[in-house]
């Protein structure tokens, strides 16, 4: 769907050359929700703006919809852009137009007739859940509603790809979630490929299928969201994973736990994209004569199931405890005995 080869963007500023995007290679499949995460200044915005050539590449190739985007002339590029939707952190709506007319704008650009525009806009207003607000002006809407208008506008010309530049970064957590749900919804309904950039791991966790971690203009780690969550290799990635798992002080709490729970066996469970074994704890206590204390843990839901770690203490007859641990090993939940060792 999208294939990016050796993409580079160098900004020439007065004092230095900034390699904002540096020899980047990626390929994004059709219908995928692809996340790019990185800290501020990593080059994410530059990257996504290269995808519709709002930024001209210094070198490299972008193939999108089997079309070599980098080779397009001005007029061809204009037409290609009508098939690439984009939404923005600050929504970028025209304040002088109503919700209806904002959504109709890309249709006007594409030269749709008045009747087609009307039908399509009403359809989109419905799709993004803004029925009845067509005649409002953007200034009368909340942030979440403005982004819904942004999404409707981006979808107006039936694009194949939707680019999202920090689309939820200006929204509160609750509104963020509702916008993310909407994105998943349109991804599933319309089979739309979505490329989104963010600095929030929460966003990646919640809706992305695949993720690339960017640092200093380069992709330092890339893969299925769950894999990256499970086996973060790079330091940046670990920090991002900790953002949602909230575990920077695990070492310390492990010590405390070890001191306070001398009896029985303290084990660590890793839930890795579980759909089937989420009931492991109740399963254990039913099958074995052990008491289970939950000491510490965090489980979170990704697009591919539950993910997280949990520290539990198994108290009971030594033999039974060992049987229980062996049983866990037969499931897909990973177990670590004596996690402090």
């Amino acid at each position: 769907m999208i294939s990016i080869k050796n993409l580079t963007k160098v900004f020439h500023t007065k004092d230095q050359d900034v390699r904002a995007v540096d020899e980047l290679n990626l390929s994004i499949g059709k219908g995928e929700i692809y996340g790019v995460i990185g800290y501020s200044g990593a080059g994410k915005s530059t990257f996504i703006r290269l995808l519709n050539r709002l930024e001209e590449p210094s070198s490299g190739e972008i193939e999108l919809n089997n079309q070599d985007l980098t080779g397009l002339k001005k007029n061809e590029l204009r037409l290609a852009r009508q098939e690439i939707g984009m939404i923005f952190q600050h929504f970028n709506l025209l304040w002088s137009r109503t919700v209806f007319d904002n959504i109709a704008f890309p249709l006007e650009i594409a030269g749709a007739s008045k009747k087609t525009r009307e039908e399509r806009v009403n359809e989109l207003i419905e799709l993004v859940g803004l029925s009845g607000r067509g005649n409002s002006y953007p200034s009368q809407l909340s942030g979440g509603q403005k982004q819904r208008v942004g999404i409707a506008r981006a979808l107006a010309n039936n694009p194949k790809v939707l680019l999202c530049d920090e689309a939820t970064s200006a929204l509160d957590p609750e509104t963020t979630d509702s916008i993310l749900d909407l994105l998943v919804d349109i991804n599933e309904k319309l089979g739309l490929t979505i490329v989104l950039i963010t600095h929030e791991m929460h966003v990646i966790r919640k809706i992305c299928h695949r993720v690339a971690v960017m640092e200093k203009g380069k992709v330092v780690e890339e893969g299925d969201v769950l894999d990256v969550f499970l086996h973060p290799k790079e330091k940046v990635t670990k920090r991002f994973v900790d953002q949602v798992m909230g575990d920077p002080d695990r070492e310390e709490s492990l010590h405390l736990i070890q001191e306070n729970y001398q009896s029985g066996e303290v084990i660590q469970l890793h839930f890795v994209g579980e759909n089937t074994n989420q009931a492991l704890i109740s399963d254990l206590s039913r099958k074995f004569n052990v008491d289970i204390n939950i000491l510490h843990g965090k489980i979170t839901q990704t697009q591919k199931g539950a993910y997280g770690t949990m520290l539990v203490q198994l108290v009971g007859d030594k033999l039974v405890v060992n049987q229980a641990i062996d049983y866990i090993r037969t499931t897909s939940v990973e177990v670590e005995v004596d996690p402090n060792a």
């Binding site: 009508q82 006007e108 002006y137």
Partner: protein, 222 residues
């Protein structure tokens, strides 16, 4: 009552002078709006980072605007005598004031237009580009509508400046309230006539200001 306060004021003269002032003002406002808008757009679009980013074009436009803005209006009228004579076939009467009024007003308005356009959210222009807009669409459907309240307040300020220019234009016999106040009021020592003309000019200014503010506020949905 009026006759006691303003014994030398003749109603029909006042109506004629007011009409001349209104004529000069409205035609020159219209002309200034169009010419100023064109110059302002040119300044903005050819400026750094603009759609037609072009140093030379920007420099030329800015120079023309700056030079004409620097010339005092009274001198501009005199400088333009040959041009006016050629264009209008006369150098007297309300029509003869129009070239000077428009050429004096447009550079002033052009700067206000440029400022108004610079206030348009860059993100919105970028969104339009991302949708595949032509430049023409960006100009007519984004830049102008999004800056309209500021364009209207700008033309209001300019219109008020033009009203006072029309009074200055009176010295070349352009007609209007300024002309009347000078020749029939001041020169004949009929100061009630000067006062009456002043009142009428102030009322005209207030009306323009009121309409401008009203329209600008109505259009502003921010």
């Amino acid at each position: 009552m009026l006759e006691e306060l303003f014994p030398n004021v003749k109603v029909e003269d006042m109506i004629e002078a007011t009409n001349e002032t209104l004529y000069m003002t409205s035609v020159s406002v219209a002309g200034t709006f169009i010419l100023g808008l064109l110059l302002g757009l040119l300044l903005y679009l050819s400026g750094p980072g603009g759609l037609w980013d072009n140093k030379l074009l920007n420099w030329v436009t800015a120079s023309v605007v700056n030079v004409f803005r620097a010339i005092p209006f009274i001198i501009l009228i005199l400088l333009l005598f040959p041009f006016t004579d050629f264009l209008m076939g006369t150098i007297r009467g309300p029509g003869a004031a129009l070239p000077a009024l428009i050429i004096g007003g447009a550079p002033f308005y052009a700067r206000l237009v440029e400022i108004a356009l610079k206030e348009v959210d860059k993100g919105v222009i970028e969104a339009a580009k991302a949708m595949g807009s032509k430049y023409r669409t960006i100009i007519f459907k984004v830049l102008l509508p999004e800056s309209m309240p500021a364009l209207i307040s700008g033309i209001t300020v300019t219109a008020i400046a033009l009203i006072s220019y029309t009074a200055v234009a009176g010295v070349i016999g352009a007609g209007g309230l300024g002309d009347f106040a000078y020749f029939y009021g001041f020169q004949r020592r009929d100061f009630d006539v000067v006062a009456f003309c002043t009142i009428l000019i102030v009322i005209i200014v207030f009306i323009f200001q009121f309409i401008g503010d009203f329209v600008s506020r109505k259009l502003d949905k921010r």
